[in-house]
């Protein structure tokens, strides 16, 4: 059991680092507007598939790394990601059994909640610049969920 967790943890770390790189990769403006939140999706995947390996701590530290790269305030992404990770970890057994399409819808909800928390914190901390473009990534994120979860399933080593 312990060894299995350790093995999964190595794979988890690998996917998280790759997702972080994809998240901070410099892209042209129009492309970065539609870029899905790869790291968030990866964290959600692990929260559903293996909540014992990553869990809420994974959400927090992934969010913190996003804060270091892109955050207006340290702790902003950390709080948003912790919150949605908590909900998904709590409901992971229900979500796991759903077909891919419904999972994608749940991801859309989670991503919208995530972006809403960021939006609220931006407002409270005095960064009131908002643009409707910030919500686009929730849609693209939900769209790539079936692909992303299939790829991550492969990396995790399940059939």
């Amino acid at each position: 059991m312990i060894e299995r967790i350790r093995d999964s943890f190595g794979r988890l770390l690998l996917t998280v680092v790759v997702a972080l790189v994809l998240s901070v990769l410099p892209l042209p403006t129009w492309l970065s507007a539609v870029r899905p939140a790869f790291l968030v999706i990866t964290v959600l995947y692990w929260s559903i598939a293996a909540p014992r390996v990553g869990g809420i701590g994974l959400g927090f530290f992934s969010g913190l790394s996003l804060d270091v790269f892109r955050g207006a305030v340290l702790g902003e992404h950390a709080l948003a990601l912790t919150a949605i990770t908590y909900v998904v970890v709590r409901e992971h057994q229900k979500i796991r059994l759903k077909p891919s399409f419904q999972q994608a819808l749940i991801m859309l909800g989670a991503l919208v909640a995530y972006e809403f928390i960021l939006f609220a914190i931006d407002g409270w901390t005095g960064h009131p610049m908002t643009s409707p473009l910030r919500w686009i990534h929730t849609l693209t994120g939900a769209l790539i969920w079936p692909v992303a979860s299939a790829v991550l399933d492969r990396v995790r080593g399940t059939r």
């Binding site: 972080l20 909540p51 959400g59 270091v68 892109r70």
Partner: protein
């Protein structure tokens, strides 16, 4: 079941904290972090080390683009180089001619002001920096450059390119700094309209090609083509550096007006920028806030001391020595 063995939550309940508890802990930690980061900058030191940790990844991520530029540069055809060289020579001649005139003008200016000696240029020295990462999103307009506290960069330092003002450093790490561009919606530059001497501020719009002047009254004397210079207020930029040119004045039915300006700096195509140090004693230098404790405005943009760090001696820098007496230029 076996497939989810490692991750089965129910099977391992009781081993480790419940999700509700760890959620509470982590959420609390995040909120405390936000409060500390927001109020008074308790986390300047933490940010400093975090940015150092993040820098290798940022370098790695930007390396494909850098490699592409490098290959492009090394594959330039000979004719291109020749035309470029001819252009540069011509430009150099033009600039030298202007500089000759500038020397005469500074002397004349000093005489008019009744000063015995001409003042040295307000720019004390400057340092080129390479752009590692560009973030031109709809929310943030930032650059990451490859100079940090080890190069003597401080927070709230003016950054320019060859055409005008670009922005200022907002976070300084050991080897890298984050620059907020004048087009960032959170950034405002105190400017002066060169033709009329009216002071106002130019605010970013998250479009790298336009700034707005929200504080001007509708009947202000502004025409398209007017040059905006830094006014020297605000404590960051010295007086008289070019910022933007008025592009559009639009009056609407409700007796309000919108003033749009185009930045002179090429915010869209940045590979190299210039960090500028100013001579504090110069009359045109920005007024320094001594303790950085000012509470007005955006605290992230207030001048604050760089994190304590035994600075390496500054490398010898090219200096702008217009009118500077010889023998005084050692640091």
């Amino acid at each position: 079941m076996a497939a989810y063995g490692a991750g089965n939550y129910r099977a391992s309940q009781g081993r480790g904290p419940a999700p509700g508890f760890s959620f509470f802990l982590y959420a609390l930690l995040a909120i405390v972090l936000m409060a500390l980061d927001r109020r008074g900058g308790y986390l300047v030191q933490v940010r400093y080390y975090l940015s150092a940790a993040a820098y290798p990844l940022q370098l790695a991520v930007s390396s494909p683009a850098q490699a592409w530029h490098w290959t492009q540069d090394s594959l330039i055809a000979r004719e291109t180089l020749e035309t470029q060289n001819a252009e540069l020579l011509k430009q150099n001649r033009d600039l030298s001619m202007k500089l000759m005139r500038l020397d005469a003008l500074t002397r004349e200016n000093a005489e008019l002001r009744g000063l015995r000696q001409t003042l040295p240029a307000v720019a004390d020295h400057w340092m080129p920096a390479e752009v590692v990462d560009v973030e031109l999103s709809n929310l943030r307009q930032r650059l990451l450059i490859n100079r940090g506290a080890h190069n003597g960069v401080f927070r709230g330092q003016a950054v320019m390119d060859n055409y005008g003002l670009l922005g200022q450093t907002i976070r300084v790490g050991p080897w890298s700094s984050e620059v907020i561009l004048i087009s960032d919606p959170e950034h405002a530059v105190p400017v002066e309209i060169a033709r009329t001497g009216v002071h106002t501020t130019a605010t970013g719009t998250s479009d790298p090609d336009s700034l707005i002047l929200p504080d001007l009254p509708a009947n202000a004397d502004v025409k398209p083509g007017d040059l905006l210079l830094t006014s020297g207020l605000g404590g960051v930029f010295p007086q008289g550096y070019p910022v933007a040119r008025i592009a559009e004045v639009r009056h609407d039915a409700a007796q309000t007006a919108q003033f749009r300006a185009t930045p002179l700096a090429h915010l869209n195509a940045l590979h190299e920028v210039t960090l500028v140090w100013f001579d504090d004693t110069h009359p045109a230098a920005p007024t320094r806030l001594k303790d950085g404790s000012s509470t007005t405005g955006n605290p992230a943009l207030q001048k604050q001391p760089s994190p304590p760090l035994e600075l390496l001696p500054l490398p010898t820098l090219p200096r702008l020595t217009a009118g500077r007496p010889a023998g005084q230029d050692h640091q």
